[in-house]
């Protein structure tokens, strides 16, 4: 649309080009150094990669919630990280009880399914309440207003759950069946990581099918495009919006349990960083775009897992793992500056506030 703009801003443009080239050179140089330093073996790189996939699967599931809501309301649901936290934190108590009663090990599949259902139920409840109380009354308000509400809700939820369940970290139990490794394609892989990755991918496909093929899914897409016309078709727009929140929350609920399995601990603040990362993933893939969120999540997970050791250590930065968040945020900034439509191409609203 606006290709002609800023054509002549040579200073700005050249600065940006310099920036871009600089980053590329740094990344290539760092990767080269990192790979040739021989500090890590091929097995270690593979483990980094697989861990990245598992972590990326979780990011992707959370990212779907951001993307669905953004697609339909053009609003960043800042509190989505807390929706994720609420499910995982609540389900911990069920998992813990199952672990203590032995049910978790005697019947792991049933037990984990129940834990997931509880997690989903909690996340869905919180998301639906959030939509009803904090967002719906503000539809049509200037864009800043629901953003602030979302931030407020986010803090409220964090500290409400801290009040309810306490501030300590809870250790997520692991069913015995998931400890150890499987040999896949000749390579030993941690069972948890495989289960996390496979479940995440399966959930994404279910969601994709739901949105593409079911009547409700099509209605969601119609509402995303034009609410008034959707109403003219007889679609109950409010209902569809709630459904969108609910579907996103269900994904977050599953992600919560997977997070518990992968990182083995939960607490009230756990939603914040994965929330921002998942949001990054959504933007990376192209916000509002469902396959984009999936791809973005996986890419971000892998880059974050491999990047510090590969690029940053290659550049000689000490304790590079500390900077893995910087990698995520730098990616976010770079994407938005140079390819705002994300990998799969859809743009954020340019409307202001």
């Amino acid at each position: 649309m606006r290709s002609g703009r800023f054509k002549n801003l040579s200073i700005v443009d050249s600065l940006l080009w310099l920036f871009r080239v600089g980053i590329i050179v740094l990344v290539i140089w760092g990767s080269y150094k990192g790979l040739t330093s021989g500090k890590y073996t091929a097995e270690v790189w593979r483990d980094f990669f697989i861990f990245g996939l598992a972590q990326g699967g979780i990011y992707a599931l959370i990212a779907l919630g951001y993307t669905l809501v953004y697609g339909i309301l053009f609003m960043i649901n800042f509190a989505h990280g807390e929706v994720f936290m609420s499910g995982a934190f609540t389900a911990y108590f069920v998992a813990d009880a199952f672990d203590k009663s032995g049910f978790l090990n005697s019947n792991p599949i049933a037990a984990l399914s129940i834990v997931m259902l509880v997690s989903m139920a909690m996340s869905i409840t919180i998301a639906a309440l959030l939509e009803r109380i904090a967002y719906r009354p503000l539809r049509g308000a200037p864009r800043l207003v629901p953003l602030i509400t979302a931030i407020g809700a986010s803090y409220f939820l964090q500290y409400a759950f801290r009040g309810l369940y306490g501030s300590g970290k809870k250790v997520y139990p692991e069913p015995a069946i998931l400890s150890g490794k499987w040999i896949i394609l000749g390579a030993p892989v941690l069972k948890t990581q495989v289960v996390v990755f496979v479940t995440a991918v399966a959930m994404m496909f279910i969601l994709y099918y739901f949105v593409q093929k079911t009547k409700t899914g099509k209605a969601m897409r119609a509402v995303a495009e034009n609410k008034d016309v959707a109403r003219l078709m007889g679609i109950d727009v409010d209902q569809v919006i709630v459904t969108t929140f609910v579907v996103g929350a269900a994904m977050a609920g599953v992600a919560g349990v997977l997070y518990g399995l992968l990182f083995k601990q939960v607490d009230f603040i756990m939603g914040f960083i994965p929330g921002i990362k998942a949001f990054t993933a959504a933007v990376l893939g192209g916000i509002g775009n469902i396959p984009g969120a999936m791809v973005g999540g996986l890419v971000l997970g892998v880059i974050e897992s491999v990047g510090p050791s590969l690029v940053l250590e290659g550049l000689g930065i000490p304790a590079a793992y500390q900077l893995k968040d910087v990698i995520a945020f730098t990616m976010l900034v770079l994407i938005l500056i140079f390819r705002p439509q994300g990998i799969l191409g859809q743009t954020l609203s340019e409307k202001k506030m």
């Binding site: 649309m1 606006r2 290709s3 002609g4 703009r5 800023f6 054509k7 002549n8």
Partner: protein
Amino acid sequence: MGILTAKNVSKRFGGLVAVNNVSVDIDEKTIFAVIGPNGAGKTTFFNCLTGFYTPEEGEIIFQGEDIKGIPTDQITRQGISRTYQNIRLFSNMTAIENILVGQEPQLKSSWIGAIFASPGTRREEEEAHQEARRLLRFVGMRGFGDYLAKNLPYGAQRRLEIARALASKPTMLLLDEPTAGMNPNETAEMTDFIQHIRDDLGITVLLIEHDMRVVMGISDWITVLDYGAKIAEGTPEDIRNNPKVIEAYLGTGAAGQVDSAEQIAE
């Protein structure tokens, strides 16, 4: 050569050629109209002239200088000013503030002067306010200065937009459908007003317009665009009788039974 000359201007969006090899030559102090159906590329052509888009091909010469590819704000400073098809006022600013923003190219004071309220800044502000009030009167909106733009009646918003465009003291004014949505009386007033701008202020007017009575009534020269390309140009009389223009829009059905002017008006 006239005040503004566009030579073989083309603008593409992806595969779509929105403006296709269009040339115009606009004489000073004339009223020049661009007509054509929706989607014919009229507004895109305007956007090329004001620098909002940079055309891929062609050149645009304004008062002897090549202005293609120059940023919008500088083109405005060189003397081209415009209004919008769907009114785009600064809706949460007052009418006076809207005109003051329009005076931007005339103002010199800096932010430092503003902080220290230097005498020069204060004088300039005072003069700018007076000029803004004068323009408000000129468009017949005396007493409306402190209303928020969005709370003004429709016709007043149209006129305020023109006042804002005039505030930059342009040599050429681009009006994008100035009578859209007006009733017949308002349209007649606006037509008079446009002539007034040309006759009294000596400003060249480039006009996109659908209402054929307006176009035929006041234009000195008309260019017809269709699918991005120029299909005809000439005096109102030429255009009215141009078989190509009639043919391209009329069709053969019921729509064809009206006179050409009505047809072009969609």
